[in-house]
Symmetry: D2
Subunit: 427 residues, 4 copies
């Protein structure tokens, strides 16, 4: 089996019960994210290139129905034959994505029925152990796929609500005290040399993390924590958004054409800054990690500080032995990245969770990269041009979804996702 070779778990690790549990937990987590919403919020398309909440709910179910239920059950009848077309992300016709906000039917209730129907079928198959190795692997991919969509869904909720003149909160929540002092930043040395990069072995990974391979890198230093809002504010106040010499050519064009003056969701008011968060609009907290910046902004900030962003190799080397539990991940229930906390000297902190970290690495295939087989072939490889790699996950990422080899990727002008900045430099 092609897919087996290029990236998969054996199934022995998790076992049947493990997979069922993982499946159900993932599905429940998606619905939990929707609880604070009104029915109307599911329909609005946040941007031409982002999907409404309803679409995310349906598409993640379509994945299991089309790629697992249908091939695994003889004579399977789809829940609704039109859904196959509506909620498929493959080979979309021109403009289709931009038009997702035009589709009022099926209703949210019908989509929830669809989810329940798929869950019933999947539960039955997983309980019976009726999936072959291939199907079990696709199921595992499906749960990771859904975890990715959870993060997109939460970002969509934020964007939808933020565009409303009233700025309603997703849920009412308070931030940390404005007066909180950030921890002092340190540089942490790494020796460089020949390193192994990428994922190997039986545990699950996406195809783009494989094959494991060797890379030679120079010695470098990594920032001990994420860049804070307070530090980013200095950049703004120093005229960062008005100095073309700090920016990449495309970054400066974007700053000008979009009128950027601060990260997304920052609003100047009464001489200060307020930040729209999932907990509502509140004062800027200088100690918090800066979030919702594009690659262009991360790069310009780093240049202004006399530093640079890390490569994805450097980040992975540094994170390999890091404790993923020290950062803020979805299980903690925070709706915003949290400030770094004082800690005894040690390795870099906040590597996992809080915010995705922009690296200076364009998203390219590893040597001898081989995409997943079949339907999943287009999952990752298609995007290996004009995207930058981000690492480490955010407060919206599940602990069971992230690992040191995980490669996320956005276009360099994207700001709606939960992404921030860590600095690096050569020794």
């Amino acid at each position: 089996m092609e897919a087996r070779e290029s990236g998969r778990s054996t199934g022995t690790e998790a076992g049947r019960g493990g997979m069922l549990e993982r499946y159900l937990a993932t599905r429940r987590a998606t619905l939990a994210l929707c609880e604070p919403l009104r029915r109307e919020d599911y329909i609005v398309q946040p941007a031409a290139d982002e999907s409404p909440v309803k679409w995310h709910l349906a598409h993640t179910s379509w994945f299991f129905e089309t790629l697992v239920l249908d091939p695994s059950q003889t004579g399977y009848t789809p829940f609704h034959e039109d859904f196959t077309h509506l909620f498929n992300s493959y080979y979309e016709s021109v403009g289709a994505r931009a038009a997702r906000g035009l589709v009022s039917r099926p209703t949210v209730a019908e989509v929830l029925d669809y989810r329940a129907h798929v869950d019933e079928g999947m539960t039955q198959l997983l309980e019976q152990g009726a999936l072959d190795g291939e199907m079990e692997f696709v199921t595992e991919v499906g749960t990771h796929h859904e975890q990715q969509h959870q993060e997109l869904l939460l970002a969509a909720c934020k964007q939808v609500l933020s565009q409303h003149p009233f700025r309603p909160p997703y849920v009412e929540a308070e931030g940390p005290p404005v007066s909180l002092q950030p921890t002092p930043p340190r540089w942490i040395d790494h020796a460089g040399g020949m390193v192994w990069i990428g994922h190997d072995g039986e545990a699950f990974s996406f195809d783009n993390e494989r094959p494991q391979h060797q890379v030679y890198i120079e010695p470098f230093q990594l920032g001990s924590r994420l860049v804070t809002c307070g530090e980013y504010l200095e950049f703004i106040e120093d005229g960062g958004y008005e100095k073309p010499e700090l920016w990449l050519y495309d970054g400066w064009e974007t700053v000008r054409s979009q009128g950027w003056r601060a990260p997304m969701y920052w609003e100047a008011r009464d001489g200060g800054w307020r930040v729209y968060t999932l907990g509502g609009l509140r004062q800027l907290v200088p100690a918090e990690p800066v979030c919702h910046v594009s690659y262009y902004e991360a790069d310009a900030f780093a240049r202004w500080r006399g530093a640079r962003l890390p490569t994805e190799i450097e980040w992975e080397v540094a994170a390999r032995n890091a404790d993923a539990d020290q950062g803020t991940l979805a299980e903690q229930g925070s709706l915003h990245p949290l400030p770094d906390v004082p800690a005894p000297a040690g390795g870099p902190r906040q590597l996992f969770g809080d915010v995705w970290e922009w690296t200076m690495s364009p998203y390219t295939p590893y040597p001898r990269y081989k995409p997943f087989a079949g339907y999943l072939e287009e999952y990752n490889g298609k995007f290996m041009c004009n995207h930058m790699v981000l690492r480490g996950g955010s407060f919206a990422t599940s602990r069971s979804h992230i690992r040191s080899t995980y490669r996320n990727f956005f276009r360099p002008d994207v700001r709606r996702q939960f992404a921030g900045i860590r600095l690096a430099r050569h020794l």
Copy 2:
């Protein structure tokens, strides 16, 4: 009072009770139009320059709250202060209309509460006879305003549902038999000469129908009925959409840039044509009036037939003594224009109702035109450039809303409204 002079009813005609009845009937009619909808349908914005159903529901209530309740009640507290901003159509900021589909809150339920709240206040005022003449007049304008929005709302419903891949019907309904024979068209002569045009007297009219004034016109002929789908199909089959010489310059540019090949809502299938109607997708019925054509198409069709469109003056002269009840108006409950029925020789038929009739008259002020005063000043005059006049109402127009002097106006490329064609020519 300024408005009184330029167009209004005395109130004596309808009286207090009459106005309350009219108010409540209008408000009920709006809600009745929404009954077939799912909650999700209210949210979708059908096009960048057209509003979602929810907005229509709220905006028509905003009109009464802001222009009647607030000035009439000392210390009136708005239902929700933000609604004043959200549902106001005046002085919108750039892009605001295009963004109405982004506003998920207030929910539909909250908007229905808003309507109920406004209705309660209005009922109380009207029952008490607490409105002065000015406010009574604004109330009357408000009911006509809402009747206009009923038609926009129904067109919005149609467009929203039509954009769905499943083409769900608004309500299931059958059309007339495909085999129905159209009545034979006749030319009806008019002598021309000096004619009085426009509205006078105490009965309600919009400002743009006034003042009544004299115009000199040449003798002309008017088509006895609306142009049918069958006749329009001949135009298509004769290559009407491929012959630039039939089209106005801007019409031809639009045909090419939009790829028009038939009226909106016509779909070529299996060598024939199907038409999406509020009753669902069904076969084209040749005897039905053609609907959802732009001015450009109406003009090109007329040229192809060796005729022209009537001027609005000619139309009004012909309609002055016509029986408005012979056409299909909203009270009949039809969701589509109906075929002309055989009748003894007589004046033109279908003048009122069925479809709005494009005239060749650009929308301009009548001599000595004076806009309504105050808030209502911008109601009509603002649009007296780049729009064409339509006359007569459609199947979606209330009987109490239409009259022979009524001037509707759309941009010449608009197809989403219920507009069709009547021919004219000089003797």
Copy 3:
């Protein structure tokens, strides 16, 4: 002959010699306009919807070659077969007009050769009296066509040079003294009633001026002279460009999207205004007629003044007996409209020449309008939608080209042509 009926001269009036003389004078006048240009100036396309100077030179020759030489000479061989395609304005393919600035060949020298070749052929035919009535009529149309292009060509020169950072003058010239006092404006009464409008008889006119017909109009007043820059400056200083209530809906949208703050070619500098003219950039002269305003600006200005623009009917009635020589026309050699001069009480001044006068009349066909036949059919009728009528000619219009029935037409947002404002109002 179709064309003969719908608008033409007999030829007897001018006679053979007259037509040759008119032909040659027109052709020479076109070349004279190009004298101040450098070769490079001929190539630049001033705007996506306006043609380079080279194209105007070639297209006006194409007219005579294709519509007169070719049909009049057996076996005529075109100067260059590709020119027929390149310089034809009919049935252009999508985007063709926007791409005229991409066509470097033929060179300007080759186009001048083309002109000379056509002139030779035409001279021979006209000297020999070899043209039949139809061809003689088309020749006359061709000279008027070329006179229209002279004005477009001069406007193109102005726009090309104005877009240059150095603002080079077309020819160095001084304006009138800045201190010149404008003549006081007066209102001149007209009684209205039944009037005859349009062109009749044998003398040349375009098809859109025919047939002569009766119209009934109300009494009105017309401004005695054109609106001056000084008066328009008051409008600006009173916040005219910031008050939406003064503007048509489409006008206000254009003001906002284009960032208009003053007429085209006005530049704020050092607290005052400078105006780019064909004579170079110079100080604003308050007594000069305002020029390069759109219909939207003319309409907003008139509303601000408590007046309106005249209808084209009113203008024609007032101009019928006016002396066309009292205004500034092309023969005077001025490169800018001139201030009104003190005159004994009398009829309106500056009706002819100086600047085209926006009327409030949309451009529509006269009753029983019949386009020219054959190739010329599309000359005028195609544009009878979304355009406004202008009357009277400008300083760039030849005396032999203008008359009181002449109907020019632009889109309401056009500012590049030499158009200004005269006020009117009802008595």
Copy 4:
């Protein structure tokens, strides 16, 4: 001196006389490229993001005037003070590049005078040995800068002439025989391992080629010659442009939105393909290297062939010891890439010249990259995002300009430059 450290020649190598000779040869070569043009061709802007020929001529002179003459001569008076603004590529205001085709003045003659003036000043300085080390280095950069513009200029000539309906040739020239057989392709092995990459030492290089550094790479194979038109035609005929699975996501979007069906300058005619070349439109020659493909097309072709593009590291390793004279470079005077010729077994051929070779490497900084100092800082680093590296030069590249470490870069959708395809794969 900053620049000295990050990339420069000593000057001892070439010496004074060498630099003068290089300067003059470069300047002459630029003018020689313009000889076939008519004056009108210099003015047309080939595309919104590409400059007219006139601009290239002036801008390359501006470089020497502003960066060498002015700082080297006390009290230097610029040739024309406005040129400093007009022909500066730094910090352009919004839209300025797109508007270069609007600037008719200075005339071509004036720009040629400008060039002569600058040459005179530079010759004097170089003859006198009056330049310090810094200025000598900037002069050397200026000659390389001008060599880059020569290639852009020739591509601009091609695009300008190709957009003309007549498709005039730049110079009349015949291609190789259509029947020529391509050489058979071979795979050439490379062992990989630790390799040194980048430029070191005193000889000139751009900053982006430095510093030299070590990289570890896997064993790989490189195609022995460039991909031919015949091979690319197989891809087209196999439906390459209709199969989304062959394309990157952004590539497929571009194929659809641009309607790509073949490389730029290919025209389907009479069931075959014709190719517009600088020698005119002629039949496709299957043995010629394919040219004018984007990165997206190169990538899709490689995927279709079961191969991939080389990385820039792989290319450089293979080219390090290659003979640059075996390919077609500008000195040979060919106006099109030439077919590979039979050769005894050996290393890859056509590495230098013929067409730039797309690599799969995004354009990123080398570790410890340091931009040139001062004015030159923005030369290369600004573009290190959203561009792909190309290697090896084309038939339009001067021999003295290219080397194995040279990094060219274009956006992945660019097709107007002389770029083609070489395949690679892992062993």
